[in-house]
């Protein structure tokens, strides 16, 4: 009994240790951007919004699927499938798991820009998404 309780507590503790908060991603990307460019001025929600709603030489922008108002649900541009809101203020599950965040930035930056996003771009997008209520 005691063992199972402590195992349970251990499991809870380890889950908590792996879960991230949206602001953690903002901070981590900003820190990475600073390391890459000592003159970096910090994340900008305005720049993030511009980045989010602009085309980058390909067919889609972030807002094609996530809409230009990311507190609302979007739809997949091709399949029309509903995509739950991306802004953490509207969807508490967003940006809480490193692996998931890494996976989607990798996929979606490839789709929208044809390359990986820079730390600076990700920091700006995070700042924008955290600013919308």
């Amino acid at each position: 009994m005691r063992i199972s309780v402590s195992l349970f507590l251990l499991a809870v503790a380890s889950t908590a240790a792996f879960a991230e908060a949206p602001a953690d991603f903002l901070n981590a990307y900003a820190q990475e951007a600073k390391q890459q460019n000592p003159g970096y001025k910090g994340p900008s929600p305005q720049q993030g919004q511009r980045f989010f709603t602009s085309l980058h030489g390909h067919e889609w922008s972030c807002s094609s699927c996530h809409t230009s108002n990311p507190v609302t649900a979007g739809r997949h541009e091709v399949t029309n499938k509903v995509i739950e809101p991306l802004a953490p203020s509207a969807n508490a599950a967003r940006f809480t798991r490193q692996a998931k965040v890494d996976k989607w930035f990798k996929r979606n930056c490839n789709d929208v820009l044809g390359r990986a996003c820079s730390a600076e771009e990700k920091a700006d997008v995070m700042a924008y998404l955290l600013s919308v209520k």
């Binding site: 067919e59 997949h76 399949t79 029309n80 499938k81 996976k103 996929r107 789709d111």
Partner: protein, 157 residues
Amino acid sequence: MKKSLMLLSGCLLAAALPAHADGKRYDVRNPAYQAECASCHVAYPPQLLSAASWREVMNGLDKHFGSDASLEPAVHAEILRYLEANAGRRDTRAAGKPQLRITETRWFVHEHSEELPRDIWKHPAVKSAANCAACHTAADKGDFSESSLKLPKGVRK
């Protein structure tokens, strides 16, 4: 004796039939498949393509119908195993090559050839033949039965 044997084999046959024995219901409840694939589109029933077709689809996930759908190796292997284990027995090849789109298979074309407005796939509420749920309202649960079938508003036969 003969009768009971027949009964027994009948039961065995029924038990061996896959979940879609009633025609249009499939089991799509694999958690990895749901989490990874069904975030962008309906969890297409694995039975609708052959194992060879699924292998080909899974081999090209970095360029998945114009989108990067790449997966971590462990998740990739898990989903491929699920798809292969539940793949359809129908041969889904065209010109000797495994087909990648369910909507291009002979079966799909045949199933959707009658009683449909010609421009249905282009209708704003449908957008694409890949959007099963536009008409198959319980497609996300693998339910493609007639009872859950409903044309979107504004689409007329």
